[in-house]
Symmetry: C2
Subunit: 211 residues, 2 copies
DNA sequence: TAATAAACCGAGTACGCGGTCTATTATTGC
DNA sequence: GCAATAATAGACCGCGTACTCGGTTTATTA
């Protein structure tokens, strides 16, 4: 008899996913052929489909891993942040957590492709939707707590504000994917500035002096 | 002899583009077949390719029209805004101009698809890049003028700030395309609020009172 | 009204693609 | 070392697709 070594199996899958992710990021899902994935992974088509049932499953698998290895998972970190007693500081940590991937050059185009694909792929849509809902509730509860603690403008609707906080974070990815001159790392301080001014704005007169 | 009537020809092209745009928005470029476009436009494939050399040209043509009819073109309105002597008001008008399309349900997914396609389509990339550069310079010059007029925070770099203003506007499209609960029209005031607080922030202490 | 070309049709085609099948080799347990 | 099975290979296939081509109809104009 021979038994499958799960570690070896997973490692091989990861290797394929790594190769496929580059291609999907560069060329998109439909225009990346399974033959190209085979070549990039250095294997035959027979072997590729030994590890994944079909092309779409390869794409899904890229987004299924939550960083289960390498310490805390994203979900865990989000949950822990929500329990913090300094909501504003926790919010900044969440922002850092969610913006970290933007520095990886393949992530922005890959994320955009996923969003577009999710339109006609209910399974992927559910997958991304779950992630997004998690992030949204985390940010929204933090905003509510921060408002209660007097750390941010209490007039803001936590739900809407959370939507825009996440939208701003998403802009980091879309801008990076769209504009080659856009350097996410360099723009992070601007993002934080916008968030601070948006959320912490005191209830002052909004009209500055005219010239 | 028979001569081609340019008006008829253009109208027929527009009709095809309208039908194709719906499909491209709903299913994306690659997953929309020319046969589907034919059916939606009520014509044969032979006739479809009488009006467009290939499928990609159809997609391009959707974004090539600047609203040349129906009054002022977008480029003209942008240019006129830049010359305004009330930069802040002009900026708000530009925001309105650039956000108007977001209310059209097909525009957000279509724009996203175009951005993704532009990655591997240099021609489309150049087309969208031109548009974006126009918008960017318009916003950047307005920001510079507004700063000089004391209407906004003069410490902001006009280039970076313009990038983020456009990113926020783009968020309206991406959010609308991603989140079915997101209603662009309802979120426009929030967008304006963020812009106002971001740009007009007075040089005050950023830390509100702690609880 | 005849000539001419645009507008239109739809069967046909070539080809690239995702996925399968059979065969061979490596690796494990007994 | 002998099953038994995982891992790998690569030729193969059927389908869907963008696009073509020969032909017919419709409109314009001289």
């Amino acid at each position: 008899m021979r038994k499958v070594d799960p570690a070896k199996h997973r490692a091989r899958r990861q290797y394929i996913l790594h190769a496929a992710a580059q291609l999907f990021a560069a060329k998109g899902f439909e225009r990346t052929t399974t033959a190209e994935i085979c070549k990039a992974a250095g294997m035959s088509s027979g072997n590729l489909f030994h590890y994944f049932p079909n092309k779409r499953a390869i794409f899904h698998a890229i987004f299924e891993e939550d960083g289960a290895d390498s310490g805390e998972s994203k979900a865990e970190r989000l949950a822990r942040a929500q329990a913090s007693d300094d909501p504003w500081a926790a919010l900044l940590e969440v922002v850092e957590l969610l913006t970290a991937d933007a520095m990886n050059p393949v992530a922005p185009p890959l994320v955009m492709e996923a969003v577009v694909q999710a339109h006609r792929d209910p399974e992927l849509d559910a997958l991304l939707g779950r992630d997004n809902a998690q992030e949204h509730t985390a940010v929204a509860t933090l905003l509510a707590k921060a408002a209660a603690a007097g750390q941010i403008d209490p007039a803001l609707d936590p739900h809407d504000a959370a939507t825009w906080v996440l939208a701003l974070i998403a802009s980091l990815y879309t801008s990076a994917a769209t504009d080659p001159a856009f350097r996410p790392a360099a723009q992070l301080p601007v993002l934080r500035l916008i968030l601070q001014r948006f959320l912490k704005a005191p209830p002052l007169d909004v009209h500055p002096p005219r010239a």
